[in-house]
């Protein structure tokens, strides 16, 4: 009975989360939804006499893989949200038709199968789940296990190939950099100093507020462009900031 309740709760949660994964505009939400699904599944694993897998699911999947996803999402730009307008003609329609059809086919197929009562894992797990799994992995499936190493090496190698760039000249020191900044200043008059920080006041303590110059006007240099763009979309952009950005735009 307990299993039933757990199942139904988690089934509903995981399906909703899965739908959320598919239909949320923001990639980050999708990622979080995926996390929810994974956690739900972890519990379901545990319920089905697979404690080891449940743990691995949480540690490896939710812990590592999801983090990787989030990391890349951040790298790619967390602010970008998908437009959900379909551009390929008929794609969404057929996708949903096929999805429903597929689900119906699988659901009906499996649902209609006469399935006997589960044999249960009591026998198989009598030495404990982990030792039994270990025995299988290191005997019957040892070859697959060994070959998996090739997979992991490939993954590491691949990541290196695509992301790592070998340095071919010495790394510039602080000294070099500051020298370069001033050379630039001398040539083009570019400000060698760091940009001004955001405005920090009693009412606002956030990076989305621009700094004020001594004359009370907004310092364009302190405006975070990414945030400004967001706010412009949402309509919460302060008018003076908007004005400045406008001016800058025209100035170009």
């Amino acid at each position: 009975m307990g299993e039933s309740i757990t199942f139904w709760v988690l089934a509903v949660v995981s399906v909703i989360a899965a739908l959320g994964l598919v239909f949320s505009r923001r990639a980050v939400y999708s990622a979080l939804m995926l996390g929810v699904v994974m956690l739900s599944l972890a519990v379901l694993y545990a319920v089905q006499d697979a404690p080891f897998l449940a743990a691995v699911q949480i540690i490896v999947y939710t812990g590592a893989v999801m983090m990787l996803f989030l990391f890349v999402l951040m790298l790619v730009g967390v602010d970008s949200s998908d437009s959900l307008v379909e551009t390929i003609r008929g794609q969404r329609f057929w996708a949903i038709v096929a999805g429903l059809g597929f689900a119906a086919l699988l659901g009906l197929g499996i649902g209609n199968t006469l399935i006997a009562a589960p044999k249960g894992l009591a026998v198989a797990n009598q030495n404990g789940n982990v030792p039994s799994l270990a025995e299988l992995i290191f005997t019957r499936h040892v070859f697959a296990f060994e070959v998996t190493s090739a997979l992991l090496i490939t993954a590491a190698l691949g990541a290196m190939v695509l992301a790592h760039r070998e340095r071919t000249e010495p790394k510039p020191t602080q000294r070099d950099l500051s020298r370069a900044r001033f050379v630039e200043f001398g040539r083009h008059g570019k400000n060698p100093a760091p940009l001004p920080g955001p405005g920090t006041y009693a009412r606002h303590n956030a990076i989305d507020m621009p700094a004020l110059l001594p004359d009370g006007t907004v310092s364009p240099l302190s405006v975070n462009r990414v945030i400004a763009r967001h706010e412009a979309e949402e309509g919460t952009l302060a008018p003076e900031v908007a004005q400045i950005l406008q001016q800058e735009e025209e100035g170009k």
């Binding site: 994964l21 897998l53 490896v60 296990f145």
Partner: protein, 98 residues
């Protein structure tokens, strides 16, 4: 109960499949693939109990490893193409066609 688990797994698999079809963000697409793999794992675990042997669990374990490796490669490729195109939309990668 087995049937219930299986239907859930089928549902998740189908949702993942639809997700691959409708989402444009490569990362989300990839997440949907992961969802499909998770659905498979659920089926494996369920069948393991159903059949009373641990093979299913072993496979699920392997799937997780494979998925991890796949994620690394996949994300590396996606990042690379993002750096080139400044876009994570899979629709933008459509020079090769017909």
């Amino acid at each position: 109960m087995t049937t219930h688990y299986l239907v859930l797994s089928a549902l998740l698999f189908a949702i993942g499949g639809v997700g691959v079809l409708v989402r444009r963000n490569a990362i989300v697409v990839f997440m949907c693939v992961e969802l499909m793999l998770n659905a498979c794992n659920l089926a494996f675990v369920t069948f393991a109990r159903q059949n009373g042997n641990l093979d299913g669990q072993v496979i699920a374990f392997f799937v997780m490893i494979v998925a991890a490796a796949e994620v690394v490669i996949g994300l590396a490729i996606i990042v690379t193409i993002f750096r080139t195109r400044r876009s994570a939309s899979v629709d933008d990668a459509s020079l090769l066609k017909y």
